[in-house]
Symmetry: C2
Subunit: 231 residues, 2 copies
């Protein structure tokens, strides 16, 4: 298994994928083209439009991008490309569409066979055991919350620390994840914007400049610096 | 139908229900006792513990509180009490437990027959058409997102305005609700902490000191001051 799981596709003040360019060049090294999964539809944007954004983003490293919805037979055609990239948006819309199109199983099989998979935000969330640690609104109802299970934990992208000056009474991200652990046993990786995970087989490495916050059931949360992540 | 739907049970620096006490006194005027629904389990707290918090809160206005889980036959016994109060916590846990216990239909029937219903936070969210505009994490999987449908719209409790100084790339609440409207037609009431709705038959009134933010599909969001709300 070969994965690149990013918290976000864009940092404040930067262009799309800018902070990840060196990493992408290396991750998709031998790829001439990759398949983009546009189903999370950020801002309700349609599949073609979103694929066009990804296409422009990957132009800088001379990789062609084709939308999975543009393939007539994805189960056959996926292997003609050098990787998969699932973009961010709404995690519920993404997962529901993956199930409804039948592309969930096609992608899962390809990645378990070794096809490189990159996700950002919602695309990272679905790489975990379930979408149970997403921040998104449940604007559609998927047939299950079960995700790809590429990694034996859940990921909370766009992880935010509590604001100590806040007077807001809604739960903090950390409180929400603590509630998650009343009902779910798996660890949750709080991945800050600017961080990403590189996974190769069983080894998980945190990259980027920031630490990640790891939540384990029944244990205090832990800050882990960039480097190998033992989960 | 008689409803009191609050954004939160507690304001910053206040005790539980403090800001709502005058309203509660009047809303539950003829009630000696009410039934509490503790199923949202804030912080994973158990049903008895949470019911005890509600019991202490209502002591100030001399109303007894009994947990719905403490009734041997809620379908029969609900009518011996003067109202229902569903507390906040996790909306997915609340809705799943309402369905799993069969209490969803019992409560729905009682409220449509005229029993006063109060909700706060998650308890307010489930009074709408669906839980599709909740802020909560999907930590359990309910058999549907359909809610009580007491009102012909959805409610986003703990509504927060975007922070103009933020460099965070996760979606703002307003962006999330715009995405909701790509897939759902109903209006969403963004209810700020300190606001509540009083509903009597078809009339909806916004109470508290703050305006509410109303989101309608295909239209710009609108700020509505306290007073009658036309939806």
């Amino acid at each position: 298994m070969r994965l690149l799981l990013a918290s976000t596709s864009r940092l404040y003040g930067q262009v799309y994928l800018e902070y990840l360019m060196d990493e992408l060049r290396e991750f998709f090294l031998s790829a001439d083209s990759i398949v983009f999964v546009p189903y999370a539809r950020p801002g309700g944007m349609d599949w073609d439009e979103y694929t066009e954004i990804a296409r422009r983003g990957f132009k800088a490293i001379k990789i062609e991008v084709v939308g999975i919805h543009q393939l007539s037979n994805p189960a056959q055609q996926l292997k003609e490309h050098g990787g998969i990239f699932t973009g961010g948006g709404n995690t519920f819309v993404l997962l529901k569409t993956l199930y409804d199109t039948g592309h969930f199983d096609i992608i899962k099989t390809a990645v378990f066979k070794g096809m490189p998979y990159m996700g950002s935000s919602a695309g990272t969330n679905v790489a975990g055991l379930s979408i149970g640690a997403t921040n998104d609104m449940p604007i559609v109802y998927p047939i299950a919350f079960e995700a790809f299970r590429f990694v034996p934990f859940n990921i909370n992208p766009h992880y935010m620390d509590p604001d100590p000056t806040s007077t807001h009474m809604g739960e903090t991200r950390e409180q929400r994840i603590a509630e998650f652990h009343y009902f779910n046993p798996q660890p949750v990786v709080g991945l800050r914007e600017g961080s990403w995970l590189r996974i190769q087989g069983d080894s998980v490495e945190l990259r980027g400049a920031l630490s990640a916050r790891i939540f384990r059931r029944g244990l205090p949360a832990e800050e882990i610096p960039p480097g190998p992540l033992l989960l």
